[in-house]
């Protein structure tokens, strides 16, 4: 730090002060364990589950042991089937998500930026939002058939609303005082959008994207259950038809892993837009 500073940073508590607690306690509180704290319960549950399944306490056709589920995934992988299912599901989620986000972004920017368009469009969109999204299924099947188009459309509808709602709110919440700062330094039009309006909206938009992605995963299950020959939802239905609980659980696990992975990617990609903001 150059020179002596007449003022100090608030909240800059030296690391030493935090670790200066009295030495000796054998167990650190759970709140200081970090990620390990969150893993404790699932690990214990998995061990208990495995033991109960192995001892025959849980009927294997009802709740097979975790190792059996892992075997089911390994079998799917080694037969080469797994890849086809994963890519089919991922492609649907991606296509639906991109379509939904594109539509939500265009409409969100329009209604957020223009009070007239907001008055015209927003009530209709809010009304459509209140239709339970699964209720679209029969109509989409009738219009678009049982192939990919109806599935992707359903996923797009699911992804649309969280993105749209958060984006509009994010635009409305832009601090006019910061916009004024932009004006003071000569920012107009596109430059103002790029340097002030866009960064100010990004955090809300990212919240919307995460919500939209979550719903896209929810809707791909519905879409694949309503009829598909490939995909993780199909594996589920297949497991149900053949009374194989391990297959159903295997695809549940895969959904969880894929959902978490794509969400983490989104958070990682959006991290630069969260810089400097209190979380």
């Amino acid at each position: 730090m150059a020179g002596s500073q007449p003022t100090t940073i608030e909240g800059a508590v030296p690391q030493a002060a935090r670790s200066a607690r009295a030495p000796g306690p054998r167990f650190r509180p759970v709140s200081e364990w970090g990620p390990a704290a969150g893993l404790l319960l699932p690990t214990l549950a998995l061990i208990l589950w495995e033991v109960l399944a192995r001892t025959g306490f849980l009927p294997p056709n009802w709740l097979p042991a975790p190792t059996v589920i892992a075997d089911a995934i390994r079998d799917l992988a080694s037969s080469g089937e797994l890849w086809g299912h994963l890519t089919a599901t991922l492609a649907r989620v991606l296509a639906g998500f991109v379509l939904g986000v594109a539509a939500a972004t265009v409409l969100g920017v329009l209604t957020g930026a223009s009070a007239s368009l907001r008055a015209l469009l927003d009530p209709t969109l809010q009304a459509l939002r209140n239709i339970p999204s699964m209720a679209w299924i029969p109509l989409f099947l009738l219009w678009l058939g049982i192939q990919e188009a109806s599935k992707v459309t359903l996923i797009a509808v699911g992804a649309f609303f969280p993105v749209y709602l958060n984006l509009v709110q994010g635009i409305l919440d832009i601090d006019p005082k910061l916009v004024e700062v932009g004006h003071v330094y000569g920012y107009r039009g596109l430059a103002l959008v790029r340097r002030v309006l866009l960064p100010a909206t990004m955090p809300a938009y990212l919240v919307g994207l995460r919500g939209g992605l979550g719903l896209a995963w929810m809707f791909v299950v519905a879409a694949e259950i309503m009829g598909a020959s490939r995909g993780l939802g199909y594996v589920m239905i297949d497991g149900q038809a053949s009374s194989r609980a391990d297959l159903i659980l295997a695809s549940l696990v895969l959904f969880a892993l894929l959902g978490k992975a794509t969400d983490s990617l989104l958070v990682l990609g959006g991290r630069r837009f969260r810089r400097g903001r209190a979380t």
């Binding site: 730090m1 003022t7 940073i9 700062v181 000569g186 920012y187 960064p199 400097g276 903001r277």
Partner: protein, 266 residues
């Protein structure tokens, strides 16, 4: 410090018959925020404007900044009429208004987008040093104290090298001690840069400490009530007898003006 008598030929800022009205919902007559304000500020002068809240002093500053464009009368800065915001005028608001997603150096660089990268880096470094924040270039505003954030705001306002710096109650949100430090800081910067300063404040001590002249405004309608020259050498001793008597003079003017035009009407 000799007191400057503004000559009409070389004013840094010239306000002529400035008026501003706001429509009042449900009433036929408008609220008169400013009425016939005439002021001239000489280059390099520090003009302090004091008045009760609601006297229109901030509106006056926003008019000079070009942020309020619907008003009566004319504003000229360095002889050119003001039609909107411009980089010949720097503005520091009561809140620091730093962009929360930019670091200290990026916030200062934000003010000079027209410079080539090399001169921008130089300008940023110079202004970080000017406000004494070396070592904090990579900090985000949320990591700074209120006083530090306001220094960054001052550095940002000065980065485009404006002829005029407009300060709108810049230290009102700071504690008394930090406020006095910041007043010393502004004085130091002013002595280094000799920028024309217009300081709007409700703090009489601040006005007497910094101003070459103190403009006392009356409320509703906002008008210039009196202009009191402060002919004390700098740095001024806040505890001296001369300082105290000037402060008293401003005080009297301030409260007389409020006594005659009550804040609240039944």
């Amino acid at each position: 410090m000799p007191s400057r008598t503004p000559s009409s030929d070389e004013s840094a800022i010239r306000l002529r018959r400035i008026s501003k009205t706001y429509p009042r919902p449900g009433r036929a007559d408008d609220l008169v925020a400013l009425q016939d304000v005439d002021l001239e500020v000489a280059p390099g002068e520090v003009l302090a404007v004091v008045g009760a809240s609601g006297c229109g002093k901030s509106t006056l500053l926003r008019i000079v900044a070009g942020l309020e464009q619907r008003h009566g009368g004319t504003v000229e800065v360095a002889g050119r009429p003001v039609t909107g915001p411009g980089t010949d005028r720097g503005v520091v608001f009561q809140e620091h208004r730093l962009l929360p997603w930019l670091t200290v150096e990026q916030n200062i660089a934000f003010a000079v987008p027209h410079l080539d990268p090399e001169s921008r880096l130089r300008t940023v470094a110079e202004h970080v040093a000017l406000v004494g924040l070396q070592g904090f270039e990579r900090c985000y505003p949320s990591q700074l104290s209120g006083g530090m954030a306001q220094r960054v705001a001052i550095a940002r306002a000065l980065a485009p090298r404006p002829a005029v710096l407009l300060l709108d109650e810049p230290f009102g949100a700071l504690d008394a001690f930090t406020r006095m430090q910041m007043q010393d800081e502004v004085l130091r910067i002013w002595e280094a840069e000799r920028t024309t300063l217009v300081l709007v404040t409700h703090d009489i001590d601040e006005a007497v400490f910094l101003g070459d002249r103190v403009v006392v405004m009356s409320s509703r309608p906002g008008r210039v009530r009196r202009v009191i020259p402060v002919e004390l050498p700098r740095p001024r001793d806040r505890t001296s007898w001369e300082f105290a008597s000037l402060r008293k003079a401003v005080h009297q003017e301030f409260f007389q003006s409020r006594g005659r035009e009550p804040e609240f009407q039944i």
